[in-house]
């Protein structure tokens, strides 16, 4: 494979190279990609300390205009989704079996489980049973469940509140016969 170096002798490109600065001064070659670029106007870095993030956040990278090369339409689309799930409140959808439409609530408004339960009970006009670690919710046909980051359906109340808020993607209030099967893996 022809090596780049051999070409140098024939074409003294360095001598004819046009650059800023007086002749005779050597300019230190700066590797490209250094972040002296204008930052993308609306792509400001999201808060590193978002609600209950467990993984260590990477240091804020300097924003390069037009990088990565993703169409603005697509970028805006992802950004909208991110805004919905981080930053300005953590709105998640709540569905209840048999209800004609879904609702949305902001999890960041609540500090612990009982507050969330009361709000749900008010919203959907039902009451959830009593929670125990061993048996889940007893005494009601309704059971609050949520979908976590892995796509699995979990019982609300098992994990610490912060962990719940950071991993909850949506809520579903199950009712009726399905509730009985909870212990056998829904």
């Amino acid at each position: 494979m022809e090596k780049v170096g051999d070409y140098d002798e024939l074409v003294n490109l360095k001598a004819t190279e046009l650059r800023l600065g007086l002749p005779g001064t050597e300019e230190e070659t700066v590797p490209c990609g250094k972040s002296n670029k204008r930052a993308l106007p609306d792509d400001t870095e999201k808060e590193i300390e978002s609600t209950g993030k467990t993984e260590t956040a990477s240091p804020p990278k300097a924003q390069i205009v037009g990088w990565p090369p993703v169409r603005s339409y697509r970028k805006n689309s992802i950004q909208t989704k991110k805004n919905e799930s981080e930053g300005q409140g953590n709105y998640v959808k709540v569905s209840m079996d048999g209800a004609p439409y879904l609702r949305k609530i902001d999890l960041t408004v609540y500090k612990k489980y009982p507050e969330l339960m009361k709000s749900l009970e008010n919203m959907f006009k039902f009451s959830v049973g009593e929670y125990s670690e061993r048996e889940g919710y007893k005494g009601s046909d309704f059971v609050p469940t949520y979908e976590d980051k892995d796509g699995d359906w979990m019982l609300v109340g098992d994990v610490p509140w912060e962990m719940f808020v950071s991993s909850c993607k949506r809520l579903r209030i199950m009712k009726g016969s399905e509730v009985k099967g909870l212990g056998c893996g829904v």
Binding site: E17, T29, C32, P68, P69, R74, S95, G151
Partner: protein, 575 residues
């Protein structure tokens, strides 16, 4: 052929449909030029400023279908200011005045206004097909005029446009007599949709083959729509959430089973993944699957869906699929020809992403792969060498390593050898996008081996002007060269001015070209438009003491037969 009457020759020409071939035919002799131009119905103009409407109409008076492209490719990434140009209005005005029988208009990266759409809808009685890709400048009012006035409308295909949604009733503007729709794609509209009007429209369109819905169409509406359009071939799902036990979900499952012609699935803009199983019965027929906007579909639900899609030829997906997910694709989708893996986290979080392993797995499992767009966290030369060996048939190879200048993460070497292997093995390569740490060496390889290369995208690469020179000297078929943030300057730019006559365009931003270099180029090549896009005041460039040596922020040059354009905004300086 001199012995045949013109009508016979024309009849033979009817079988020649590709633009390249028709252009070649027209160069054979004067007589063929004449016959060809009168019989040409479909015209493709890759750069709307390379010619003008008057010349178009003079040469092709029997035009029926026009494709126009406006802004340069890097406009997609916010590198070109909005008011740069690419206005379709003068084209539509000229076409309308000439009374040509326009039936089809396809626009990409152009500025379209409601006024243009209204004029279009009123001027051409037989207008059938409107395809807008990455356009902007119009609202749903413009769509309303198209719906209302185009009596024989067949296709209304809106792909990734920025459309101001006035929440109007554009869908109800389709008259009851309109029954000819074949394609209806409004997935990019953000606002509410009149569901009743939509359902009625679909119900009276027996030829409807492609339907792509926006976010505002919920699952129960989808169920009803699919029930009255079982002939659908291409479906874009809008919102996809509901309780899996609800009646509408059961209706949907039944409707899906009847859609035996369904071959292409996309959308899922808002999705509840556990409902995906409703589509499993038809997955074995799918040849195209686009889940690149379905951020909520990942993990086991995604894998289960893909495992049913054994006939897939085209897959667009988010990198949340992971290397493991790509391995499933590799073992399931043996017919795969095109793969696009988009980043789901633009800030480079790095958690759920794909690496070189996913790419290697795909190349090993999918022998028919010829097009790839792959955003990833890291790459190695060894992986690229393996990929080149597994898939020597690449036509398009676009690799984007999210972090600029990132070397081979195992050896810390530049990725020259890896990309070199790709261009050496893939003799049919027409499009290439580079990323990662790259020196002049990779360009030497490209110049030597990439004989069929037509489009090359370079970012944060190379060391000296030699890099660019290797490419300009070596790639005889180069059409579009776009470079950003690379140390190429005037020497490379000016080395072979006649080369630009063989190319459609050259883009250079944040490189080392200077104003005097650009001026010299413009002097040598009056048949080129040399545009300097400077968002800071252009006049200041002149007044500065170091006038000639000032670096140009953005340079865009293109061959043209009509000279300087008159519609350039103040921040664009045409030399």
């Amino acid at each position: 052929m001199n012995y045949f009457p013109d009508e016979v020759i024309e009849h033979v020409f009817d079988f020649v449909t590709s633009h390249k071939d028709r252009n070649a035919i027209s160069l054979v002799c004067k007589s063929w030029y004449k016959i060809e131009r009168y019989s040409r119905q479909r015209v493709f103009i890759g750069n709307c400023y390379a010619t003008n409407p008057e010349r178009l109409l003079r040469r092709f008076p029997c035009l029926k279908s026009l494709t126009l492209k406006g802004k340069p490719h890097f406009a997609d990434f916010n590198l070109v200011p909005h008011e740069w140009g690419g206005f379709v209005q003068p084209w539509i005005e000229a076409l309308a005045r000439s009374r040509v029988g326009l039936e089809e208009l396809r626009l990409k990266r152009m500025v379209v206004t409601d006024e243009s759409l209204e004029l279009l809808s009123r001027s051409f009685v037989n207008f059938k097909s409107l395809v807008l890709v990455s356009c902007e400048g119009f609202t749903t009012d413009g769509l309303a005029s198209i719906a209302a006035n185009c009596r024989h409308l067949r296709d209304l295909d809106l792909q990734e446009n920025e459309i101001e949604d006035h929440r109007g009733q554009w869908l109800s503007c389709f008259p009851d007599t309109c029954t000819t729709l074949v394609t209806l794609n409004f997935a990019c509209l953000e606002g509410e949709t009149n569901l009743v009007a939509l359902e009625r429209l679909v119900a009276r369109s027996p030829n409807l083959k492609s339907l792509k819905l926006n976010r505002a169409v919920p699952l129960d509406a989808l169920a009803r729509l699919m029930a009255c359009a079982p002939q659908i071939v291409d479906l874009g799902v809008g919102s996809y959430e509901n309780d899996p036990d609800s009646e509408s979900y059961l209706k949907l499952k039944a409707a899906i089973k009847k859609c035996t012609s369904l071959r292409s699935l996309s959308g899922f803009l808002e999705a509840a993944p556990h409902c995906l199983s409703a589509f499993h019965p038809i997955c074995h027929n799918l040849t195209s699957l686009n889940l690149s906007y379905a951020a909520e579909i990942h993990g086991s639900h995604l894998i289960k869906l893909i495992q049913h899609c054994k006939k897939l030829q085209r897959l667009w997906i988010l990198d949340s699929i992971g290397d493991k997910g790509l391995e499933v694709v590799a073992s399931t989708c043996k017919e795969l020809q095109e793969l696009r893996v988009f980043p789901s986290d633009l800030l480079g979080g790095g958690n759920t992403a794909v690496t070189e392993e996913g790419l290697v797995a795909i190349s090993a499992g999918c022998p028919k792969l010829h097009s790839i767009l792959y955003f990833c966290q890291q790459m190695t030369n060894a992986a690229l060498v393996t990929v080149a060996k597994n898939c020597p048939n690449f036509i398009r190879f676009r690799l984007c390593i999210l972090e600029p200048n990132k070397p081979d993460h195992v050896t810390s070497q530049p990725l020259d050898e890896g990309f070199g292997a790709i261009v050496k093995a893939c003799k049919s390569l027409r499009r290439l996008s580079l990323s990662g740490l790259l020196t002049d060496q990779v360009f030497l390889y490209i110049g030597m081996y990439a004989n069929q290369l037509e489009m090359l995208s370079i970012a944060f690469a190379g060391d000296t002007d030699k890099g660019m020179l290797y490419v300009l000297n070596g790639c005889k078929k180069m059409k579009k060269l776009e470079i950003r943030d690379s140390p190429f300057g005037d020497t490379a730019l000016l080395a072979d001015v006649s080369k630009y006559e063989t190319m459609r365009s050259l883009w250079m931003s944040s490189c080392e070209v200077t104003l005097s270099g650009c001026k010299r180029l413009a002097e040598k090549a009056p048949w080129l438009n040399v545009e300097i896009i400077n968002e800071s005041d252009n006049n200041r460039m002149e007044q500065n003491g170091h006038e000639g040596r000032q670096k140009v922020d953005k340079l865009y040059l293109y061959r043209t037969v009509v000279g300087t354009r008159m519609d350039a905004p103040p921040f664009v300086w045409i030399l």
